[in-house]
């Protein structure tokens, strides 16, 4: 059969009337939510140590000492959890030519006139940006984070380097929080999206409207029958 270009092997038509399309397997969803949870906890504990006005957030974790202790540990969890996610998703997040047109007409996207845009595969450029931004920032955060992990790596690098690391860590943190906001916002604003990560399915209409190439590919594949 022809190589799949716009979908994962697991993606398939769940039901035909009304059409529902399976977008994420259970394991992927679990993986996503573990990552999401750790990111949120990191965000809260990190912000607590980032700005005095947010120090009260340490209360959530049971105080500054515990916050200080737990933040890097959650960081490790996030890193590996995201690594798994990355291995599952990176292929379809590779840039495609239609992404350029999509980005060029981002205005239409915001207005909601997708009919004016080329058909897309499983991810649009925005989603791909979030994916790659997360990937890069998480690497930056884990590396700089270990450098300033007083408890287990007190003298891993020189103090001047640690100073740079802590600055980079906080800048990267700000960036990843912005990306996070974008991700969450887009998911909410584009109605019908959340179910992809909750139930794992989207409506045919949603797929037709936002990821038509993806829908065509699995539709075509299913026509031939999944047996192949």
């Amino acid at each position: 059969m022809p190589r799949l270009r716009y979908s994962e092997p697991g993606d398939h038509i769940e039901s035909r009337a009304p059409v529902t399309v399976s977008r994420y397997r259970g394991i992927t969803r679990l993986n996503h939510w573990v990552t999401a949870t750790s990111l949120i906890l990191l965000l809260l504990s990190g912000l607590a140590l980032f700005h005095p006005s947010l120090f009260f957030l340490t209360g959530i974790f049971g105080g500054g000492q515990v916050t200080r202790w737990i933040h890097p540990i959650i960081g490790i969890v996030l890193f590996f959890s995201f690594l798994l996610l990355f291995l599952q998703l990176w292929r379809l997040n590779l840039p495609r030519p239609e992404d350029r047109t999509w980005v060029a007409n981002i205005g239409e996207v915001v207005k909601g006139h997708e009919e004016k845009l080329p058909e897309l595969g499983k991810y649009n450029a925005g989603q791909k940006f979030v994916f790659w931004a997360m990937s890069v920032l998480i690497v930056v955060l884990i590396v700089s984070g270990v450098m300033i992990w007083e408890e287990y790596f007190p003298a891993l690098v020189s103090i001047p380097l640690r100073r740079i690391a802590v600055l980079v860590h906080s800048l990267a943190a700000v960036a990843i929080i912005l990306v996070f906001i974008l991700h969450v916002y887009a998911a909410i604003w584009t109605r019908g999206t959340i179910s992809a990560m909750t139930r794992g399915t989207v409506t045919g209409g949603w797929a037709w409207r936002h990821h038509r190439k993806w829908l065509r590919e699995i539709a075509g594949r299913d026509r031939k029958g999944p047996a192949e």
Partner: protein, 329 residues
């Protein structure tokens, strides 16, 4: 309560054994970590200083010994690694350390054994306090003492990154930061720090900063008369001056004294991190969050139209698989 606390000097008298109220406390705090606009106290304590006259120091380590005894710490028995420094570095149990440097004076070709007592400098502008994220973990009293309040310390180690002199150390036991307190508990009852009290040659003296600077001048005079033209005082401006000051025979090159910083200052990186990054970062994140919320509320959401569903069904029912677009090949 009088409006001035007792004026401590080095071992002016033996320590009191009757209970006595501390000469200064929370009301005299001028700076608090992770806390802006601290209300300034009504009274201003006299600025204090510990003077370390390196030219009088015999490197006997009495200061280390007295420090251990007064603070009831017990540094580990390490090994000899070919030097006189023991412990090998400052530790959470060793707040002060004699550092030894064998220096051949190029001007005279004489060997000089430069011995410097290392420890917290009690900066007027403390980098540790600036870097600290925990409210109240580091405070500065109006007499200049920079003290760690361990109950508030979270052990993050930011103070280490903030300090221009590499002084604070994090305890592996209670995970809080330790350093010289300038014996705030002794000073509070009118005693000098334990190290100053012990110092056999009185190379370490303690009193008001004014007196200490004046005393330093007389020492510098004596040193100049003995041929040390560059004798001088070390009270670095970069950190707004310090409350632990040195008399150096070679004040023109502090770094020969085991890397005493020539021009110490809080690292610009730390300034940037704790300054613009902190504020701007918070602002940007705040705006983004708010912006998104507003847009979500007021802008029209991207809805899936009924005809989209129809199209989808038609596709699933009828449409043949698309030919592979060429550009993908």
């Amino acid at each position: 309560m009088s409006d001035t606390a007792p004026q401590p000097t080095t071992a002016a008298a033996n320590p009191p054994v009757q209970p006595i109220a501390p000469g200064f406390d929370a009301r005299d705090v001028v700076r608090i970590s992770a806390t802006s606009n601290v209300p300034q106290p009504e009274r201003q304590l006299t600025k204090l200083a510990k003077l370390i006259d390196v030219s009088k120091c015999i490197g006997c380590k009495a200061c280390q010994s007295a420090c251990i005894e007064w603070n009831d710490t017990m540094p580990a028995v390490e090994e000899n690694v070919g030097v006189y420094e023991n412990p090998h570095d400052l530790t959470p149990d060793m707040f002060t350390l004699m550092r030894f440097a064998e220096w051949e004076n190029p001007a005279t070709n004489e060997l000089e054994w430069l011995i410097r007592k290392d420890g917290c400098m009690h900066c007027e502008d403390p980098g540790c306090l600036k870097a600290c994220p925990a409210p109240g973990a580091i405070v500065q009293y109006s007499n200049g003492i920079v003290d760690f309040i361990h109950e508030n310390c979270i052990g993050c180690g930011y103070c280490i990154k903030g300090c221009p002199f590499d002084i604070p150390r994090i305890s592996r036991v209670d995970h809080t930061a330790y350093k010289c307190t300038l014996c705030s508990d002794r000073v509070a009852v009118g005693q000098g720090p334990a190290c100053a009290k012990a110092c056999p040659t009185e190379a370490i003296v303690f009193g008001t900063k004014e007196d200490m600077v004046a005393h330093a001048e007389t020492r510098i005079e004596d040193l100049k008369s003995r041929g040390y033209e560059n004798a001088g005082i070390y009270d670095p401006e970069g950190v707004g001056g310090t409350h632990v000051i040195y008399v150096l025979h070679h004040a023109d090159k502090p770094s020969i004294y085991n890397d005493l910083p020539d021009n110490p200052r809080i690292s610009p990186i730390v300034e940037g991190w704790k300054g613009v990054t902190k504020t701007a970062g918070l602002a940007v994140m705040g705006l983004a969050a708010i912006g998104a919320t507003l847009h979500g509320l007021f802008a029209r959401a991207n809805q899936v139209e009924p005809e989209d569903e129809v199209e989808a069904e038609r596709l699933v029912e009828t449409e043949a698989p698309q030919p592979q677009p060429r550009e993908d090949v």
